[in-house]
Symmetry: C2
Subunit: 110 residues, 2 copies
DNA sequence: CATCGTTATTCTTTTGCGCAGATAACGCAT
DNA sequence: ATGCGTTATCTGCGCAAAAGAATAACGATG
């Protein structure tokens, strides 16, 4: 039996971090710009911006180091805290996924 | 750190069973009627009906024993297979939840 | 044979909310 | 001072999901 799961970190009963923000953060890290990250995922910039803002506000951590203006127009790099968040969330998801796979095979042997 | 997760059983890359159908099935078991189950969850009957139909078609199992007509108008009871599905899915979710709780505390100690 | 409340099925209407797109602000370089 | 590509914000609209209406069939019971 196949399965799929989603795992969110919550705060004040609101979704605060999950696959969406994770993917976006990693793209920013790779491309150095929130705009480029959004474009590369066919996501509107405004949506990407809202996601980052939301996570930062709810989690009270700074994810992006923004630079506005300048020769290149600016850009964003991700903070140390963001890198830690990525690392921990990915480790968490990997561990959980392993367990789910085992259990699905246990309870749904087909 | 709080968390939330959703776990779906998949078939042909489509969601086939999850929390929604589970809750509905249990309500039918409790109330003996799909209509009453939908009402009790402030869900439209057509939606409830579609959910049951979808699961049955995709999973190729019969979930409800329908009775149309009669003094009380009829009603639905859930099949043995449906009971097994409930039991296994709940056991799976419980086991996974336990693991997630451990891991969340391990990776997000706050 | 009329009544009743269900299941079954399809169609139309509504609603909410996610999203894209427009606009502003910014600052370095030339 | 002009241009450029960012970040930052706001607004209104599209569209899918959901609700609801309409319709039919059913069968025990009085």
């Amino acid at each position: 039996m196949d399965y799929r799961f989603r795992l969110w970190l919550m705060k004040n009963n609101k979704k605060v971090f999950g696959e969406g923000p994770l993917k976006l953060l990693k793209k920013v890290e790779e491309l150095g710009s929130l705009r480029q990250a959004a474009l590369s995922m066919q996501m509107s910039y405004s949506k990407a911006w809202k996601i980052m803002k939301h996570v930062e506000e709810e989690l009270h951590i700074k994810l992006l180091e923004r630079k506005i203006g300048g020769k290149t127009g600016g850009g964003s790099t991700i903070t140390r805290e963001a890198k830690d968040l990525i690392k921990n969330y990915e480790a968490l998801v990997a561990s959980v996924n392993k367990k789910i796979e085992e259990d699905v095979n246990k309870y749904f042997m087909i």
